[in-house]
Structures are given as C-alpha cells and as structure tokens.
C-alpha cells in the first residue's frame, strides 16, 4: 500500500501541469481550429524568462512569474500576427494542417534561439520551495503543493474570465460561431489575438511550474506538450472542462504505471488508452462527432 502516497503526489502534480498546458492548447484549438505546435516552446520560454528575471536580474518572485507570463503572451501574439492570421486569410481550407507545419517552424526557431542564448546544459530554476509536509507515511513536498495550488488557481481564474467577463463571453461566442459574432460587432481577429495571448501567458507560467520540479532545458516544453496533445485528443479537441478532468485522470494512470512497471512505460500506456478511447469514441470522451452534411 506504500505506492498510493507517491502515486497520488506525483500524479496530482503532473496532472496539474498537464491540465494547465492542455488548457492553453485546447483554448486555441477550440477558438481558431489551430493546433499550436509551438505551445511547448512557449512553456520553455516562460521558464527561461522567469530564470532570467529572478536569478540574472534579481527581480522578486512574483515579478519573475509575471515576466514569464508576459513573454509567453508576447510570443503568442506574434505567432498570431505573423503566422496564424496571414495563413488563415490566404487559405482557410488547408489551415488545419498548414498551421501545424508553420508553428512547428516557429517552435524550431524559438527553441534554437533559447539554445543560442542560454546553451544546452540544464539550468536550475531558482523559483523553488524546499521542505515537505508529512501526514503519517504520506509525504507531500511543498514544491508539489505549490504547483498544484498555482495550477488550479490559474485554471479557476481562466474559467471565471471566460464565464463571467464580456471579453470571455466574446471568446466563447467567437469559438462557437465566428460569423454570428462578426454580425454582432465582435472584431473576430482581435478576439483570436486575445486567445493566443491568454494561451501564451498560461503556457509561460506553466513553464515556470514545470521547470521548478525538473530543470531548465531548451526542450523543457516538449514532453508536457506531447502529453497535452494526448489529453486534448482523449477529451475531444477544444473541450476545456473535459481536458482538465482527463489530464488529472491520465496523469494518475501514468504515475501508477511508472511506479509499477518502470518510468519508460508511462507514455506507451497513455498512448494505448488514447487509441482504445478513440476506437470507441472517435470524437474523444467528451467530444461530439461532427455530423458532416454533404
């Protein structure tokens, strides 16, 4: 019974991180129909931005985290203005695939800029908390608790923003029916820009959290992004609540498999689950299969 504690701690922590990474990815997919292959790189940039702010410029921790969000949001905005917007204008029919290729190009570029600026060797993220709480045999490091709380707080804030504010309502409306939104005076392009900024900011902070339990490296965001893809697919692309539930559930499964069968079997187990789910439900667990009329 000694594995329950570690599995829970590890599963909940990675689950929170996956959920946060998935939220940004899913938001962009749901609004723009765009799979942002540079999402993982936004995580990386956030991690490095916080590192630079905190340990090289000596800024206080909250400012460093804000810096990470700002860098993520800025790059998100640039991706929209320089890549996604022109691509969607030029050929909307092929956008779904062309944007994946183009954003991968962006990811490759940004990742190499990070490599040039900081070098390939792993760096320690200074924003860490030491110590742990023990409840009997149950040990919960503060760091993990901070990550879980921060991620849940960010998700709650995003949910509130989307549900309660006018800008959030416009984002949801545009995602559901862009033509109708235009007819009501919603500047759809600006809404898309906001979505990419929001997603970039979430990714930036997520990168800080990820790097605080691992290490900073130029490929920091690759693994969370790949997992986030998996979560999105299982939940049904674009479904936000579903994506978050799936993230926690699959992270727990992954942690369990890793404890029982070894670390290398975690990802294959996830893939097996995805394939099984999609064979039964091609639109994902929470998704609806679109009926295409001919």
């Amino acid at each position: 019974m000694d594995i329950i504690g570690p599995v829970l701690v590890s599963g909940m922590t990675t689950g929170a991180l996956y959920a946060l990474a998935t939220l940004g990815l899913s938001l962009v997919w749901g609004s723009l129909g765009m799979l942002n292959m540079a999402h993982g790189t936004l995580l990386t940039l956030g991690g490095y931005a916080a590192f630079t702010a905190a340990s090289q410029l000596g800024w206080p921790v909250p400012v460093a985290v804000l810096a990470a969000a700002a860098v993520g949001g800025l790059i998100g905005a640039l991706i929209f203005m320089l890549v996604a917007y022109p691509l969607s204008r030029r050929n909307p029919e092929t956008f779904e695939t062309t944007i994946m290729i183009a954003t991968f190009g962006v990811a490759l570029t940004l990742e190499n800029i990070v490599l040039r600026l900081y070098g390939g060797q792993p760096l320690g993220q200074p924003l860490t908390v030491g110590g742990s709480i023990s409840l009997g045999r149950f040990v919960l490091p503060w760091q993990n608790l901070v990550i879980i709380i921060a991620a849940i707080a960010l998700m709650a804030a995003t949910a509130l923003f989307l549900a309660r504010t006018k800008a959030g309502r416009a984002i949801r409306a545009t995602a559901q029916n862009p033509d109708a939104a235009k007819l009501l005076g919603v500047p759809v392009a600006r809404v898309y820009l906001q979505v990419l900024i929001l997603s970039g900011m979430l990714a930036g902070v997520c990168g800080v959290l990820v790097s605080s339990i691992t290490q900073l490296s130029p490929s920091l965001g690759a693994d969370p992004m790949l997992k986030a893809f998996i979560m999105c697919v299982v939940a049904g692309l674009g479904n936000l609540p579903g994506a978050i539930i799936t993230s926690f559930a699959l992270a727990l499964v992954e942690a369990l498999v890793q404890f029982l069968a070894g670390a290398r079997w975690g990802f294959p187990a996830l893939l097996a689950i995805v394939i099984l789910v999609l064979i039964r439900r091609p639109g994902g667990l929470f998704g609806r299969v679109e009926m295409r009329r001919l």
Partner: protein, 242 residues
C-alpha cells in the same frame, strides 16, 4: 433607380457579389426609407441570402455600393458594418449553441457598454418575446426551432441599429410557429423599425411589406406593391412555382 443618397436609410446600388469565380448577384439596387419594411422574395438559390450577407459585410462587394444613412458601408468588415448600425438576423439563426438564452441575448449588446441601456433593452425583448424570459437559463442548443428563431430575433433587437436585415424567418418552421414569428415582425414594423426581409413566399408578407422585389437569377425581375404581385399569376407561376 437613381435615388439621391441621404433620403433613404439603406441604399444598395448596382451590387455585384458572389463566391469564387461565380457572380451570384449581377447588379442589384434597392432602397429603404426609415420605417419601411421591404421584402425580397424569390426562389431558393437565387441570391437572397447572398444579398444580405453582402450588405452586412460577410461577403465582399465586387461592384456597386451600399450606404447607410448616407455613409458608405460597402468594403467594411462585418463587425464594422454592425457597429455602423446594420442588424443582421441570419438564416438558420447562427446561435451560440453552447450558451444560455440570456448569454446569447447579451452577446447582441456586445457593442454597447452602457449597462443601464442594455438592461432596459433586455426588458423590452423579454416583453416582446416572453417565451425567452422563461427560457433564459436554458442552453441554446436545447431549444425548439421556433424558440431558436425567437432568440435570433431577440439577439438582433439587443443591438443598436437603424436597419434590420431578417433572413427567411419562416424557414423550416411549422405553420403555427411561422404565424407567431410574423406576428412579432409585424409588431416590430409597427414600432417604427426599418426592416429588409427575405422570404420565399410573398403571401406571408403581403400584409406588412411596403414593397416587394422579386429576385431571380441574381437580379430583380419585378418590383412593386405586394397586392399587385399577388394578382400577377404569370409572375408567381414563373418565378415562385404558383
């Protein structure tokens, strides 16, 4: 057709538009004075919806012009046309399916930051369409066809605008529901609204329309009063299948 700009609320002059290489409209002109209800009738697939989409900026205007209260609005993107005061109640409702009725209505007031005015208009919409007040928290996707149409109209009424474009409000509804919808439209006209209405069946609009344009193959083939059109059996037979 050379009506001086400024005398009419909405003026469309020699409008040409279409999809890809094909022109769907080949030169359409019409004008609406304030408080008028003008109807465009015609068979399906001959450009009625296209006309409204071009006016509201969802489709680019290729030739000709559209102006609202004397200001040119052709060439503006759809959200700017809306900001200028064109209310478009689209075909098939285009509701925000995952949102509640109330949220759909509030989206109609997107451009209005005056909370008091928005609340007042919401009350007006609820008194005109009491069914919506009952269903305010219900998700749009779960409504019946008639209720959805009501939400579409109500959402348009939440906008501030000087002209309302309504696209086939009777489409796909049961006769009794169509009657209710036209009852609402008649009340809108009575309250002084300027309305451009697209409809397949001229008999339905005979009582409320000031003028009717018959659209066939991308151009108006007849214009005049509804009562006259209904007596022209040869027109009805040729263009509207009896």
């Amino acid at each position: 057709m050379a009506e001086p700009i400024g005398s009419s609320c909405l003026a469309v002059n020699g409008l040409v538009t279409g999809y890809d290489a094909r022109n769907v409209l080949t030169g359409v002109s019409l004008s609406l004075n304030s408080g008028e209800l003008v109807t465009v009738v015609g068979p399906n697939g001959h450009g009625k919806t296209t006309l409204l989409r071009a006016i509201s900026g969802l489709l680019p205007v290729r030739k000709g012009s559209v102006s609202l209260n004397g200001r040119a609005i052709s060439g503006l993107p759809a959200h700017r046309v809306a900001a200028n005061g064109v209310i478009h109640v689209p075909q098939g409702d285009l509701l925000f399916a995952g949102m509640s009725v109330l949220e759909n209505l509030l989206m109609g007031a997107y451009l209005d930051s005056d909370q008091v005015a928005v609340a007042r208009r919401l009350d007006e919409v609820f008194s005109l369409l009491p069914k919506l007040a009952e269903r305010r928290t219900q998700i749009a996707a779960s409504l019946s066809g008639g209720e959805r149409r009501m939400v579409g109209i109500g959402r348009g009424l939440m906008m501030k605008g000087s002209v309302m474009l309504i696209d086939e409000p009777s489409l796909g509804l049961a006769p009794i529901v169509i009657e209710q919808i036209y009852d609402v439209i008649a009340r809108l006209k009575a309250s002084g609204r300027t309305i451009l209405l697209v409809e397949e069946n001229p008999a339905r609009v005979a009582d409320i329309a000031d003028r009717i344009h018959l659209l066939d193959n991308g151009a108006f083939v007849w214009s005049g009063e509804p009562a006259v059109l209904l007596q022209r059996d040869e027109l009805l037979a040729t263009y509207l299948g009896g």
